[in-house]
């Protein structure tokens, strides 16, 4: 085949020749670079990352309002602000929203935006699948929340123990929305997981071996591997629940011989890795922020990596510690108690390494550093209370009390959420080209810190005093009154801190022209995303960076002089890439991920209300799928940027890849040799 020998440039179509590939002849190929069309059709990992972040913050507001409602009800004993039925929906949806629609996608936001930049890639392995993940997640989240308007939210707790979630005990549609909605967001996670695992393993810049990857990318890789393996387990559980509720199957029908512990096992085999899915990206972000503001490399890089991997593995062997009171029998309880103890070891190693990174450094304290140090302190508290429940006999006193609520909020809020906030301040200039105001940021941090501790600190006491979880009210005279009031006050301080953050975002945007532009590397940082202009140009890297060592970017700025002192040898502005995209080739935007995703919630509604809606949804999804398969990954009508470059846009799900070619007639196939399929 002669085409192989043709130089890349000559593949450009002769100018003036019009050959449009409108798939199905319906949609014009999206071309917009700005405006809403650019966003809905984007396959750019950076835009998708930003949309993940924005969507998570939107859901954060919903979950936050639910939290405030819960705290208002519990501010005093015997309050009847919300009925028990509504309260049960509130705490269920609060948990589901915060876990699946806030913290997980916040992690996805950072991972989407940063992984390609940190490994020196132009995009993820499958850009269109990446867009699909986002849209499926967004529609799944909206689907879940529309349950409020269609008869009420899920009311079985986020853990949804059978048989309380069956039609007999939860006859409304809430649990149907739960089962189908989480199934949909699960698809998003699974597709995203496959995509990002492939990206981390396959798309690294020349020279970037696995042990030269930044810690954040490493932790993200572990997270995505966990997702890939954990999601199918919850999928199975949700399928069983859905079949029970909608098709009268007998999986959790005790009268037919079912054992409700099946659900508990399936849920927690997913649920415990899920905990690490929530926290590992945060571990990664802390490991990026602390070295930069300590002006030292991360202490014990290989130990940081291996402890992350160890957590990833051990996370699979501890699930039954959620079930110490479930009646597993002493042998199982003992085994899981011991395994749970030891998962504290790699976590402790991380905390000590962060401390050692700061030790002997020259620490500065802009907002990202405050959040990172706050996380080290707060997460430790969550870890320690975690050790106290690993003591299985003690856990039988603690489980399902507010002590547990305190524990996991210290881990997920004090751990993950703190760090994501810090990450916002850290990478904001890279993403948007201007800083978030640091003084307001500090106010934001301290409000969060105070509000957080006021809310969740007292819950340790409440739990040890015996206050159960998931109760819509409590009795006067149990010693619960004072601390509940404190917690409620704290919750409103947290709400205030979120408002301050919103204010900071708006104000910093309005005043962006008044401050000096951040430049490529405002923090004197270490990883590759700081070697390119801010905001990140669409094509990321002008040329693929060549990596020789860990923290390669930092080592281009600093070197040892003849006395062995490390001195600055280059200014970032002088050695950063200039943002010349002429040698870059980018994957083309597409509407089809959006269309495919839009069908899924309709299928969900259809299964709940009327199969006709499901038929419409199924048709839409099928149309999206076919259109996707028939659409070449690259727009043949766009003038090529020139060939060459380090292109990597082999898009398409495995089966879509197989389906992709039919539309491309023979000449198109020839071009694809350089433009990818």
């Amino acid at each position: 085949m002669a085409i192989v020998e043709r130089p890349a440039d000559t593949l450009a179509l002769p100018s003036g020749e019009v050959r449009t590939h409108d798939p199905l002849g319906v949609f014009a190929r999206p071309r917009a670079k700005t405006g809403w069309r650019a966003w809905v059709s984007t396959v750019d990992h950076k835009k998708i990352g930003i949309m993940y972040g924005a969507a998570s913050l939107f859901f954060l507001l919903i979950g936050g309002v639910e939290a405030l409602a819960i705290r208002t009800q519990l501010a005093a004993p015997e309050q009847k602000l919300f009925s028990a039925a509504l309260y049960n929906q509130l705490f269920t949806m609060h948990g589901v929203t915060m876990i699946f629609l806030v913290v997980m996608p916040l992690g996805a936001a950072f991972m989407n935006y940063l992984i390609p930049l940190q490994i020196g890639a132009r995009d993820v392995a499958f850009p269109r699948l990446n867009a699909l993940s986002f849209w499926v997640f967004l529609f799944g989240g909206i689907f879940l929340n529309t349950s409020w308007l269609l008869g009420g939210g899920a009311d079985g707790g986020w853990f949804a123990y059978a048989p309380n979630t069956g039609v007999v005990f939860s006859p409304g549609h809430g649990m149907d929305f739960y089962a189908l909605g989480l199934q949909i967001t699960g698809i998003a996670s699974l597709v995203g997981g496959i995509n990002l695992v492939t990206t981390c393993l396959n798309m690294r810049a020349p020279g970037m071996t696995l042990m030269k990857m930044p810690v954040f990318t490493w932790m993200s890789l572990v997270t995505q591997v966990l997702l890939v393996f954990a999601m199918p387990v919850i999928s199975v559980a949700l399928f069983l629940l859905t079949f029970d509720r909608l098709f009268d199957a007998n999986f959790f029908n005790v009268a037919q011989g079912a054992d409700p512990l099946l659900w508990e096992h399936l849920f927690w085999i997913f649920g415990h890795p899920e905990v690490y899915i929530l926290i590992l990206p945060a571990f990664g972000i802390v490991s990026e922020i602390i070295p930069v503001f300590s002006r030292k490399p991360i202490f014990g890089y290989p130990f940081m990596v291996f402890s992350g991997i160890a957590i990833g593995f051990m996370g699979w062997g501890v699930w039954a510690h959620h079930m110490f009171a479930s009646g597993l029998g002493p042998i199982s309880v003992a085994a899981f108690s011991v395994s749970t103890m030891f998962i504290a070891v790699p976590t402790g190693v991380k905390i000590l390494n962060w401390m050692a990174t700061m030790w002997g450094g020259k620490l500065s304290f802009p907002t990202p550093m405050l959040f990172a140090m706050g996380m080290v302190a707060m997460f430790t508290i969550g870890g320690l209370s975690g050790v106290t429940h690993a003591v299985a006999p003690a856990d039988t006193q603690q489980t399902d009390t507010y002590y547990i609520v305190a524990h996991f909020h210290y881990v997920i809020f004090g751990g993950a959420f703190f760090v994501f906030m810090g990450g916002f301040y850290f990478w904001w200039p890279k993403v948007f080209g201007h800083f978030l105001d640091d003084r307001i940021g500090k106010l934001h941090f301290w409000l969060t810190m105070v509000g957080f501790n006021l809310t969740f600190g007292p819950m340790h006491i409440l739990g040890l005093q015996g206050m159960s979880r998931r109760i819509h009210t409590y009795r006067d005279g149990y010693g619960f009154n004072f601390w509940n009031l404190v917690a409620t006050v704290g919750a409103f301080i947290i709400a205030l801190s979120v408002l301050v953050f919103g204010w900071n975002v708006v104000r910093s945007y309005r005043r962006r022209g008044l401050q000096p532009a951040p430049g490529p590397d405002p923090w004197d940082a270490r990883s590759l995303e700081w070697s390119i202009p801010s905001p990140t140009p669409e094509h990321n890297f002008d040329d693929p960076p060549v990596v020789t060592q860990l923290d390669d970017w930092w080592h281009r700025k600093y070197a040892e002089d003849e006395h062995g002192n490390v001195i600055k040898v280059a200014e970032p502005e002088d050695i950063a890439m200039i943002g010349d995209g002429s040698r870059a080739h980018l994957p083309s935007p597409s509407y089809f991920p959006l269309i495919l995703a839009a069908g899924l919630p309709l299928i969900g509604y259809g299964l709940i209300f009327n199969l006709a809606i499901a038929a419409v949804g199924g048709a839409l999804t099928l149309a999206g799928f076919v259109g996707w398969a028939l659409e070449p990954a690259d727009d043949p009508d766009l003038p090529p940027h020139g060939g060459g470059g380090h292109d990597h846009d082999g898009d398409g799900s495995p089966d879509a890849a197989a389906l992709e070619a039919p539309a491309t007639d023979a000449p198109a196939v020839e071009e694809e040799v350089t433009v990818g399929d």
């Binding site: 085949m1 192989v4 392995a125 499958f126 699974l190 997981g193 496959i194 995509n195 695992v197 492939t198 393993l201 396959n202 798309m203 690294r204 970037m208 890939v228 393996f229 999601m231 199918p232 387990v233 999928s235 199975v236 399928f239 069983l240 079949f243 098709f247 009268d248 199957a249 007998n250 999986f251 029908n253 009268a255 037919q256 011989g257 079912a258 054992d259 099946l262 399936l266 085999i269 398969a629 380090h646 292109d647 990597h648 846009d649 082999g650 799900s653 495995p654 089966d655 890849a657 197989a658 389906l659 070619a661 039919p662 491309t664 023979a666 196939v669 040799v673 350089t674 433009v675 990818g676």
Partner: protein, 205 residues
């Protein structure tokens, strides 16, 4: 041999396909491996569920009442043979033998369809004998597990037919051998899962 030698560079120059990835595996192939790893857990969950529930029914028909081992053995053999034909299809396309590749792709899809037909027959027979989806806990578990496998096989058949259409349109030359290989990975996986299911569900009492 000459053919392969000429075509080899084509594959290597394809972006994101092979050599310029960090692992040397192309992106789609690596993604398929990751997906299959994930799918193991899906079937792991379903098979565990079945194992836990199959003897817990309080009423209705049980496994030994409905299973027709000789019949299912035959359909299992058919599916097993389809793995062989799939391997032949991959070998053919790697050789550049487009014609034989078509024959083997078609045969594989056909064998898969025979298997699905057998499953449909089996399901209807069981239903007539009185084992519905909601009859008892064994029914729910059995139909769900084997049904999920059936859906996997059906998706595989669709992929095979798509390859066949591509081939007939002249778009499936040896430079795309990898697409066949990836579908082959999936097909073999589904086959292996069936061997497990057949052993666990049908053969172990």
């Amino acid at each position: 041999m000459t053919d392969t030698a000429i075509h080899a560079p084509v594959i290597h120059h394809e972006p994101g396909h092979g050599h310029d990835t960090s692992t040397g595996l192309s992106n789609p192939k690596l993604a398929m491996w990751v997906f299959l790893g994930s799918d193991c857990l899906l079937f792991g969950g379903l098979i565990s569920t079945y194992l836990l529930l199959r003897h817990r029914s309080v009423a209705g028909l049980g496994p030994s009442d409905v299973f027709d081992i000789p019949f299912t053995s035959v359909s299992s053999f058919v599916l097993l043979m389809s793995s062989l034909t799939m391997a032949l299809a991959v070998a053919a396309i790697v050789r550049g033998d487009v014609h034989r590749n078509r024959i083997w792709l078609g045969t594989t899809a056909l064998l898969g369809a025979v298997f699905i037909g057998g499953q449909a027959y089996e399901f209807t027979t069981f239903y007539r004998e009185g084992l519905g989806y909601t009859t008892n806990i064994f029914g729910s578990a059995f139909y769900t597990l084997t049904g999920f496998h059936g859906v996997h096989v059906s998706v595989g058949i669709i992929m095979l037919l798509s390859l066949l259409v591509m081939s007939l349109k002249g778009n499936l030359g040896p430079e795309r051998a990898e697409a066949v290989e990836i579908v082959g990975l999936y097909w073999h996986f589904v086959d292996i899962v069936w061997i497990l299911i057949f052993t666990i569900v049908y053969l172990i009492p």
